[in-house]
Symmetry: C2
Subunit: 378 residues, 2 copies
């Protein structure tokens, strides 16, 4: 809250309306799968705690999961839900008016999932005297620096993904259905370890197989794995909404030379880029280490090779802040946590091998200890 208020003050924002579920959780502890209806938290220097505004039936979830005082929790009546005649942001605007805030400089997360165009139109219509300022990533940049407690949660997520990835790799066998592998992965992810449990992940299990490996975001089907084909596993462990992602690639049978060669180059490039990580180095400098290495071997990749990660909700475990790519001059700082995933997707095949890491004073500390090689089975 303090860091958010200070970021707001720097930008002259009186009131911040945060609709990003991860930001809502970060600011208040709120944790429920209720983001399919409109909800937000309001942050202002005039109150030491945020206001939570959401659907009436979810107000008890705010009471159960946050430390907000009861008077800061506002549930709107159910006839605002998916109505064609009124919008939940009408209710929000009424509350802002009642509080005497209608003429303020109001920060909104314009490009955030769940802050729809209709939300913004309703706010503008109801609050003609307000000045709206885009604060899409204001809280995201605050939460990019992790506390020791947050790092501890990511460590737990790391233990879960090490276990889960081993299960996933074991389940990939010729003739076994993809859905059965995905089921075992989910079981491992959610049960966690004997000491702590797992949470649902903000991206679903990605399990492209065969020609599907030419693209990253395919989940699974009822089809069996096939000898002579590759499968990519892009998964995460999650504990209390904190993620540790990992990608690995598996080939059933002797892999084509180009796949084996490319996997080797990817692992080398990944480790060179990880070795280049330290506070003060920019995102584009890290990416340049990778691109120089793969260019030497004739491999080309046109997309970013990483992003910051941590606390999140579907549909993304990335934080929408920095990207490891040309042009991003953000300097890495201690206690940032990133997922470096230099995936290669070509016409009809691809390979992904990744590492999640913690930026420390001395460099990249990997969260996981898991072999990086292309896994060849059978």
């Amino acid at each position: 809250m303090a860091a958010t208020l200070s970021a707001m003050a720097e930008r002259g924002i009186d009131l911040l309306l945060s609709t990003n579920p991860a930001n809502m959780c970060y600011l208040t502890g709120y944790d429920a799968w209720s983001f399919y209806v409109h909800q937000l938290v309001v942050v202002t220097a005039e109150d030491s705690q945020a206001l939570w505004i959401g659907r009436g039936m979810d107000a008890n979830a705010a009471r159960v999961t946050t430390f907000l005082p009861s008077e800061n929790i506002h549930g709107y009546p159910d006839d605002y839900v998916q109505s064609t005649i009124k919008h939940p942001m009408d209710y929000v605007a009424d509350l802002i008016r009642e509080k005497g805030w209608a003429g303020r400089r109001i920060g909104v997360e314009l490009d955030t999932f769940y802050f729809t165009a209709a939300c913004f139109e309703a706010l503008k219509r109801n609050l003609p005297d307000a000045r709206f300022v885009d604060c899409t990533t204001l809280v995201n940049w605050v939460k990019i620096i992790k506390s020791p407690q947050e790092i501890a949660y990511m460590e737990r997520a790391a233990r879960i993904i090490e276990k889960t990835m081993a299960v996933g790799i074991e389940m990939i066998e010729p003739g076994r259905r993809q859905c059965d592998a995905a089921a075992a992965i989910a079981q491992a992810q959610i049960s966690g370890t004997a000491d702590f449990g797992g949470d649902y992940t903000a991206l679903m299990t990605m399990l492209p197989s065969g020609v599907g490996t030419s693209t990253p975001h395919i989940t699974w089907s009822d089809e069996p794995f096939v000898s002579g084909e590759a499968t990519i596993l892009e998964l995460a462990g999650c504990h209390r909404r904190y993620h540790c992602p990992m990608a690995r690639s598996v080939h059933l049978g002797r892999p084509p030379q180009k796949l084996a060669d490319t996997a080797k180059i990817v692992v080398e490039g990944l480790n060179l880029a990880l070795d280049a990580v330290k506070p003060g180095v920019t995102c584009e400098d890290i990416e340049a280490v990778w691109s120089r290495h793969i260019a030497k071997h004739g491999v080309i990749k046109e997309s970013r090779i990483g992003y910051s990660t941590g606390l999140n909700y579907p549909p993304d475990w990335g934080e929408s802040t920095l990207s490891l790519r040309p042009g991003d001059k953000t300097e890495l700082r201690p206690d940032m946590t990133l997922h470096m995933i230099p995936g290669i997707w070509l016409d009809d095949w691809g390979v992904e091998i990744s590492e999640c890491f913690h930026v420390t004073e001395t460099g990249a500390r990997r969260f996981c200890d898991f072999p990086q090689d292309l896994v060849v089975k059978g």
Copy 2:
């Protein structure tokens, strides 16, 4: 496509930009977890197939999962992703201009997840001569009537949820961690049956326990189930993105009388309301049957008791069309599919028992055959 074009023609829309992942899948077959970046399909009478526009790395997912011709698939460069200097909708607007459509009447899904305020601002800025019309639920209302193939997928989802709910109920035992029950539920949901597999569900497993049952959208924790407490399971089976949801309630040990009584009233009211379903009856009439019954017994519920369901992606398996609530005068029609879920959430406890059904010429046909009573264990 034909029904969508006809709904567009009725409203004088030349071009529809559909950003709802379920609508994108319905119109083209596109199926990937890529909705965390901006993407859409464009529907126009000038092309027999939709255009798919999304991130470059996902264009292969469009090639693999849709039947669109290659020239209808447009991937934008990766530096549009989460950029502070350009927006994917700039790319979309450029394409619309190139096609000569910049002055058209363009339908947009203003209040749809993933169509952010920033998307709309970028389109308006880039296409000053276009006229934008809100078409949030145009495709949703087309897809509310299910084909026999869609009903068949929901039947499969029903077999999966029957199996999954039995697993969930069995896993709720004093001392067992909530996360271990959630893990077994996920395993059952995704592995499906020997004949067909399961898919991920658009709402995560809801598993509120103890005081958490006072609110519907809490998932699970590492804590154990406790004797003397209730747990609500709100789950779905999913097959090829088609859902069949079900909610049941479990009490460990002898339930408090008010819980047992309320559960009985809920089951009676649910079945009376189901009996009232037939084509031509309005949503509010169905709800009135329920409310009259519970009012007689002194139970009050202020939120809707149901909605249409079917094909969907996170964060919601509801279709954002009709709601079973006062004021909704939508008439039920054959081959609509609904989830009737009259959940009761009070100060510190609640109960949920639901049925998913198919509106046929003769009434409500339940998808599932599963006992409705409050489950009392131990």
